[in-house]
């Protein structure tokens, strides 16, 4: 059952089926799902006329309306190592921190921030440790950026057409966007006197896997962040509390969480994650190593399974698009299975390396239709069809599955994943 445990967090179909199809979706006909192992609760009650009684007093900590119960999707049949964001539940571009996907390799460690230290050594003039207070004292920067596991979408890619009852959460829930705050890594590297001959650095976590990845120094001199906050508050434990590396636009695994050590070197370290795991087999007997960048991708989040449209007429097709190579410049929508494409509207702000929200009004005539979205980024890269990706990578390549997804709307309004 657990053979795939480390394939980028991809659960098997049986594991997924044992979970739940998703959470309450937007619009009419939403399916209210009982979530993993929780028994369905009775629907909350509200007064007939709320204007006829005083409301609640202020509370020190807010919570969602009792009518809103979004949940991450966690595998249930084994000790799990990932959970998925309910993409079909969300609006806008910011993922609430408690719904941000998780992926870890040795569980979530419990770290006392007062004892936290970041060690930087190797090819530096002055090896140093930094406390959390030290890190927070440096000039900070904040960026809204997506984070995606490079295994995201693998089940859909490798099982073409076999699982029509798949929600965006099940299929692609290993992507989220947040505002990340921290210290530019280049500032720390200047402090310790990073030597010009350093070409790579090792990032090491403080979890039970003491997880490591090698990262090119170029990323440090560009936009890498040593992050200690997410959406305005300290990182959540599952996101690396108290400190994580954050590499905008790159596969999530390289943004090492619970970061304890950076070692500069003139060669990569060839850790388990970057050799046996996060490499992409290619046709012709090769595998791509250090494939960090996330290519442009888009995903319709409404209407999608398990949604059922209430009838013909106006519906707004909605979704998210993102690219690790800069900005999304265009998203097109097809409602006829890819024969005709029309531009979707991109919602401001269109930020680099961040989820972008797209929308397009659709006057559904009540007949069967196939919906697709296709993103283009500022480098001119166009999100490929599944066939194009297969030709370039092979049927069973692992990681980086950004092919166009399609959704079939049946004449009764029920929507299914269509490959």
């Amino acid at each position: 059952m657990a053979k795939n445990r480390d394939s980028g967090g991809l659960p098997s179909r049986r594991e997924l089926l044992a979970g739940v199809v998703g959470t309450a979706a937007v619009g009419a006909g939403a399916v209210a799902g009982a979530q993993q192992g929780e028994s369905p609760k009775p629907r909350p009650r509200a007064p007939e006329d709320p204007t006829k009684m005083q409301g609640l007093v202020p509370r020190p900590l807010g919570e969602r309306s009792a009518f809103e119960t979004p949940r991450r999707l966690v595998r249930v049949l084994e000790p799990s190592s990932s959970s998925r964001t309910p993409l079909q539940y969300l609006q806008g571009i910011v993922t609430p921190a408690d719904l941000h996907f998780e992926r870890h390799h040795g569980g979530i460690p419990n770290i006392d921030p007062e004892r936290y230290e970041l060690l930087i050594h190797g090819m530096v003039e002055r090896p140093q440790t930094f406390s959390l207070a030290d890190l927070k004292r440096f000039p900070a920067e904040s960026k809204l950026r997506f984070l995606e596991c490079s295994g995201n979408g693998g089940t859909a890619f490798q099982n073409q057409g076999r699982y029509p009852r798949m929600s965006p959460q099940e299929m692609d829930g290993l992507t989220s966007s947040s505002e990340w705050t921290g210290v530019p890594l280049k500032l720390l590297f200047r402090e310790v006197g990073a030597r010009p001959e350093a070409t790579w650095f090792l990032a090491e976590g403080m979890d039970a896997a003491v997880m490591t990845r090698s990262v090119p120094m170029e990323k440090a001199w560009d936009d890498a962040i040593i992050a200690y906050a997410q959406n305005g508050e300290p990182l959540r434990p599952e996101q690396g509390y108290p400190v994580r590396l954050f590499l905008p636009g790159w596969e999530g695994n390289a943004s090492v969480k619970w970061l304890r050590r950076l070692e500069l070197s003139d060669r990569p370290f060839m850790t388990r994650e970057e050799t046996s795991k996060y490499t992409d087999p290619l046709p012709g007997g090769k595998a791509r190593m250090f494939s960090f960048g996330m290519d442009a991708k888009s995903l319709i989040t409404f209407p999608t399974f398990p949604e059922r449209l209430g009838g013909p007429g106006w519906w707004e097709i909605r979704g998210i698009a993102w690219t690790g190579r800069g900005r999304i410049t265009r998203v097109e929508i097809s409602t006829d299975g890819g024969r005709n494409w029309e531009d979707a509207e991109l919602q401001d702000p269109v930020l680099p390396k961040c989820h972008v929200r797209f929308r397009r009004l659709w006057n559904w005539d009540g007949r069967e239709a196939t919906l697709m979205s296709r993103a283009t980024d500022e480098t001119g890269y166009v999100q490929p069809t599944r066939d194009a990706l297969l030709a370039a990578r092979g049927s069973y390549t692992r990681y980086h599955y950004n092919q166009i997804r399609s959704w079939r709307v049946e004449s009764d309004g029920q929507v299914f994943f269509a490959g």
Partner: protein, 217 residues
């Protein structure tokens, strides 16, 4: 957390663990920079430093002593850099494997609750993009034997990660390589011999050639 680790893995002085002389890295290893990549990195460094040129040097943080570094510096390079003194045989590794590893990885590394460790593809082909009959294992896929030592030492066994002393890690590494037909039953490993092992899939790995633009790669 760090203190607990210090208890079980005694700090190694920085120079003591170095296996002399270090084998050369093979020239095709992904991640060794060519001239153009070196120039690009130098330019990126200059740009990055220019971005923060208006900021003072802050001097926050503490100097890290060699002992402080050694307590955490457990990584092993593909050339064997960082390997500690010690050694372990296939035979001893088999005993340890039965006690510590069988439950998750199966009696002969065929996998059980967790992933398979052993197995080769006939002819050492590398068909993984197009053929799902073959499993990704140490013998069929891992390019460097040093990675095995590094990972076992830092993360295994699951119930007591980071608890194995170097001799045990050498022995387990040796046994898993023997399960994959890479070492013989009478072999042992130490800091000198481990990095000299050439793994069957070593030359299968290439750098990322995706650069954006219209081409799908």
């Amino acid at each position: 957390m760090a203190a607990a680790e210090d208890d079980v893995v005694p700090p190694v002085p920085p120079e003591a663990g170095r296996a002399p002389p270090r084998p050369e890295l093979h020239p095709g290893m992904p991640g060794l920079l060519n001239e153009a990549e070196r120039e690009a990195l130098a330019a990126a460094r200059e740009d990055g430093l220019a971005d923060i040129g208006h900021l003072p040097e802050f001097g926050f943080g503490e100097t890290a002593s060699p002992e402080r570094i050694a307590a955490w510096d457990i990584d092993i390079g593909p050339d064997g850099e960082g390997l500690p003194p010690g050694s372990g045989s296939v035979e001893r590794g088999e005993t340890l494997y039965r006690l510590q590893c069988v439950q998750c990885h199966g009696a002969r590394g065929e996998g059980s609750q967790f992933e398979a460790l052993a197995g080769r593809v006939p002819g050492d082909r590398f068909p993984f993009a197009e053929d799902r009959r073959y499993r990704i294992t140490v013998g069929s896929y891992w390019p460097y034997a040093t990675t095995l030592f590094d990972y076992i030492r830092r993360a295994m066994p699951q119930a007591a990660p980071g608890s194995l002393p170097p001799d045990d890690v050498y022995a387990l590494t040796a046994f898993i390589l023997q399960l994959n037909g890479i070492l013989g039953p009478g072999d042992s490993l130490d800091a000198e011999s481990l990095p000299r092992i050439r793994m069957p899939a070593r030359d299968r790995f290439v750098r990322d050639d995706r650069r954006g633009g219209p081409e799908v790669r």
